[in-house]
């Protein structure tokens, strides 16, 4: 079936891209100025342990052998130990991954859906006050500088009003309490999630709204809309059933194209809100010269971005029958 061929083709492309990234990273780490060994081996290790690690990672071998070691280590999940935490890197990023996925996915889905919905409404009322308000609102929110907006949100809603916690994803007391039920824990996470989620949402929904709005206006000029009117359909049916599904397609494409931008935003948000995700881990590890952790976080983020692209492509193929058949 066409769809499977399309998906497998994209999957192969992604794998190729990932390999390129993997290789480039390898080269950068080895060839950047400074001593590559110090990047892989914790300076705090004893000389004997360091020797062992060097042998294990194959750092005393010629470059091409190192590349093979590198690949082998990648596929067996050996990223070394974090200089800072002292634990295996794999453990750390594995713990962080769900947190990022939670925040990232929720924010994208929410901003896309709301953007599409409001953009549709704005196009109905083109030129009226509703439209002007929405368009202006979208324009303003999506040009605000993300980290700054995050700081303002914390300052106003967490610090001054005290409605939300200032940092983190969980309140330790609740999670350490043996009697706290699952529901309480979930609510706690949600409580912590509202500010970062709102920040991400506000920054992103604007562009989707604007795209949906102009897409609807274009779609409403199409011939099949005239057919719908001639068929005696109500305006509501024409807009919601005929125009909107077509108009939403460019928005989906836009979500896919701006995934890299979105993940930048995700990393910044996690950092400011101290949300324990991979984005924050990357920033943190880079600031602390924790190379193994930085490398692994980066690779994991790359995988997340590539897979998200694939998901969006599949979604688009599902929504547009011209691709599927």
């Amino acid at each position: 079936m066409e769809l499977w061929r399309y998906i497998s083709r994209r999957l192969i492309q992604i794998v190729v891209i990932f390999f390129v990234i993997l290789t480039v990273l390898f080269l950068l780490f080895r060839l950047a100025p400074g001593d590559p060994v110090s990047r892989m081996v914790d300076p705090n290790l004893t000389p004997e342990d360091a020797e062992l690690l060097i042998k294990e990672l194959g750092l005393d071998q010629p470059l091409w052998m190192q590349y093979l070691y590198y690949l082998k280590n990648f596929f067996t999940g050996h990223f070394g130990n974090s200089f800072h935490y002292g634990q295996p890197v794999v453990q750390i990023i594995w713990d962080r991954l769900p947190n990022t996925i939670l925040l990232f996915t929720t924010s994208i889905i929410l901003s896309a859906l709301v953007g599409i919905f409001l953009g549709k409404i704005a196009s109905w009322h083109k030129g009226e006050k509703t439209d002007t308000c929405m368009t202006l609102g979208a324009l303003i929110t999506h040009t605000v500088f993300l980290p700054w907006m995050a700081l303002i949100m914390i300052w106003v809603f967490a610090y001054r009003l005290g409605w939300f916690p200032i940092t983190g994803m969980i309140s330790e007391e609740i999670w350490l309490d043996p009697e706290a039920g699952l529901w309480r824990k979930v609510l706690d996470v949600l409580h912590h999630m509202i500010l970062p989620l709102t920040t991400l949402f506000l920054i992103h929904f604007g562009s989707y709204l604007l795209i949906m709005r102009s897409s609807m206006l274009d779609t409403l000029k199409e011939d099949y809309i005239l057919t719908g009117r001639a068929k005696g359909l109500t305006e509501k049916v024409i807009r919601d059933h005929h125009a909107a599904p077509n108009a939403a397609l460019p928005v989906v494409t836009s979500v896919g194209l701006s995934l890299a931008f979105s993940i930048n935003g995700g990393a910044l948000t996690e950092t400011v809100f101290t949300w324990p995700g991979i984005g924050r881990e990357l920033v943190f590890s880079v600031s602390h010269n924790d190379y193994p952790l930085a490398q692994a976080s980066f690779l994991l983020i790359a995988i997340v971005v590539l897979l998200s692209n694939l998901v969006v492509d599949i979604l688009y193929a599902y929504l547009d029958p011209r691709i599927r058949y």
Partner: protein, 315 residues
């Protein structure tokens, strides 16, 4: 009693440059089961006329004067809601360039069923699908392609699907606006023949709009020649073709090749159509007419009745 009577219809568009007089004072009548063709070059107002009959004009379009009597009722007096019920159920339309008349993200069967379900609230989905099956058979489309999407159909198939959709609610009148323009000649001919058969079988009235006089000659009982928004000659097909009176009609006929008849040189019509925002007072064809005189320019032309079924604006 004629099915459709248009009296002195004038339609126009409000544009940035002024009011465009797209259709001026057009009157005609169409009986049940008969077909009427409107012929003219692009910009003559024939499409606007078709749209106006269904009150499907864009927001800047307006019907300035006139009346449209359909089945005894004045369509221009109806509310939007009442008009919605007339559309498709009583009068259906087949559009120009049916290429994009179908929504690309919905299946053909659903789009046709939608027409049925909108106008027959008692009908359920299964019944509607049954009816679509019947329609497919009628227009000669394969049953196993009902669940396809529009992009999977060829041009000819799409046109048939559009025809099937137009027939879905068994309308009394179908307005066909250049339905075969974008198709190749063989398919064009097939569809025309099938249209004629369907008309005979179901007694549907058809208004055929085209720039191609040869098509209209084939399919229609009566013909109206339009130029610059006005009807310049109108009558039974045979009378118009055998003895055209208006200079434009004559010019139009001689600019088309015929298989039979004398081998004449094809004569294109020189000049351009007049500006419809500031239309001339007198005859609008004046500047391009070989017989134009000073009086033609200033006097408003009046209808000359050549026979009970043939009238013209100029003899």
């Amino acid at each position: 009693m004629a099915l459709l009577v248009a009296e002195n219809l004038s339609v126009g568009y409000q544009t940035q440059k002024g009011y465009l007089h797209a259709v001026e004072g057009v009157s005609f009548s169409l009986g049940a089961g008969k077909s009427l063709g409107f012929v003219g070059e692009s910009g003559c107002g024939k499409t606007t006329l078709g749209m106006a009959l269904m009150r499907l004009l864009p927001p800047n379009g307006m019907i300035r004067q006139g009346r449209i009597f359909f089945d005894g009722e004045d369509l221009l007096q109806k509310t939007d809601e009442e008009m919605r019920q007339v559309r498709w159920k009583k009068i259906a339309m087949i559009f120009q360039a049916a290429m994009n008349a179908l929504n690309p993200v919905h299946r053909i069967i659903d789009q046709i069923a939608e027409a049925i379900l909108t106008h027959d609230p008692l009908c359920d989905k299964e019944e509607a699908y049954e009816q679509v099956r019947g329609l497919f058979q009628l227009v000669g489309l394969p049953q196993d392609r009902m669940r396809d999407y529009p992009h999977q159909y060829s041009g000819g198939m799409k046109q048939r699907a559009v025809i099937a959709m137009a027939l879905a609610c068994q309308p009394k009148l179908i307005i066909a606006d250049e339905p075969t323009t974008a198709l190749d000649v063989l398919v064009q001919d097939q569809i025309l023949q099938e249209t004629k058969n369907l008309q005979k079988e179901f007694g549907i009235s058809i208004i055929y709009i085209s720039h191609d006089i040869s098509i209209v000659a084939d399919v229609c009982h009566d013909v109206g020649i339009m130029y610059a928004g006005q009807l310049v000659e109108y009558g039974a097909r045979e009378e118009i073709f055998d003895s055209p009176r208006h200079p434009y009609t004559k010019a139009l006929l001689s600019s088309y090749p015929t298989l039979t008849g004398e081998k004449n040189r094809l004569v294109p019509i020189p000049g351009e159509t007049p500006n419809l925002i500031h239309p001339p007072l007198g005859c609008r064809f004046c500047d391009r007419c070989s017989r134009g005189s000073v009086s033609c320019r200033t006097e408003t032309p009046v209808w000359i009745e050549i026979s009970p079924r043939h009238k013209t604006l100029c003899d």
